[in-house]
Symmetry: C2
Subunit: 215 residues, 2 copies
């Protein structure tokens, strides 16, 4: 009952991507060489080369997956009718970011080294800002968020900025070497940006949520 050849091939390709993602997240995309990746997988460099001719191809595939992971979350924009919808979407987003944390962590290296990655990253950010603005806009129309057009834009920009860069900063500021997952803390930090602009009722709700994310 061994798997057919085609399935085995898919499996190796899949193993490469999964393992690479893990190593990238743990050690940084710049640090993880193709050789080390092959060693970790217990396959030969030649075999790795058979599946991916360049490191760039692996990177692009992983970034593409990250993009696909974000897509359904962002599609939910119109359904954001209350603060906790926003909160939930934020949570999913941060989980995705955490699962692919190398993407933003090593953004500078990736953008510098792989032109294809650079384009994709910029696209992700542009889409994210647009989506976030749409979400905030929906909240504003529902009277939950009190902002003018300019504040809306600045807020959306700042939320995306926080989402993308938070893990870099958290890791840097942390005493320990590992990456404290704490996506809740990240979401909380973003929500704090929103707080002053919320109406009374929603602000109270935030204060309630806040209690759950402090220790």
């Amino acid at each position: 009952m061994t798997l057919p050849i085609a399935a085995r091939a898919v499996n190796t390709r899949e193993r490469i991507l999964r393992t690479c993602l893990r190593l990238f997240n743990d050690q940084g995309a710049a640090t993880v060489s193709t050789n080390r990746l092959a060693t970790e997988l217990d396959i030969s460099p030649g075999n790795l080369y058979y599946h991916f001719k360049t490191k760039e191809q692996i990177v692009e595939q992983l970034v593409r997956r990250f993009e696909q992971r974000l897509a359904p979350i962002q599609k939910s924009s119109p359904a954001i009718e209350a603060v906790d919808d926003f909160w939930l979407a934020l949570h999913f987003t941060f989980e995705a970011i955490h699962d692919y944390r190398f993407v933003f962590r090593d953004a500078d290296y990736l953008a510098r080294t792989f032109p294809s990655a650079r384009k994709r990253l910029q696209s992700i950010i542009a889409v994210s800002i647009a989506t976030t603005r749409a979400q905030c806009s929906t909240l504003a129309e529902a009277g939950i968020l009190r902002v003018n057009a300019e504040e809306l834009q600045t807020l959306a920009f700042h939320i995306v900025f926080t989402a993308t860069c938070w893990s870099v900063f958290a890791k840097l500021a942390a005493d320990d070497v590992g990456d404290s997952a704490d996506t809740g803390r990240a979401a909380y930090q973003v929500l704090t940006l929103l707080t002053p602009y919320l109406n009374e009722e929603s602000r109270h709700y935030i204060l309630y949520l806040r209690g759950k994310y402090r220790g």
Copy 2:
């Protein structure tokens, strides 16, 4: 009228540091090898080695200078009596960050590769948060900023986060490849965080400043 030998030596050392800073800022600390640095300086690798035995020593020296550059700005904390004092301090800070932008841009690489740099970076961030909190606290006592203790902490944290990571994000989000200096935009973005908590008078002042930093 040639310079005495000692002075020449100091000069080469200084030239190394200056050129290295420029290359780091332009191309990234990870990308710039000691060999490329030597080539750019028109000196031999051996000569470079004479002045700095390791790349880490150069990095540490540069980070130390960045720290020293920040120090006098941070010492001015008690003198923050109005919003535009804060604004000015912010401006100086962002100028310093821009002049040493590789420090935060490549923070992950630096922290990973050079333990000495990691410690220094963490110290810089810790001091910055403390300083910022002190500044905000002064503003709060003067009735300019209306925040409770928790908001103060979160705000300080977020301000430092923005200051350190902004250039990374700005560069990533930008279409062009170069680094748009625009420290004004960065300072404006930080000030926006403060706005909702300001008293009436100061908020108007901010709105006035805002006009100067939009195109």
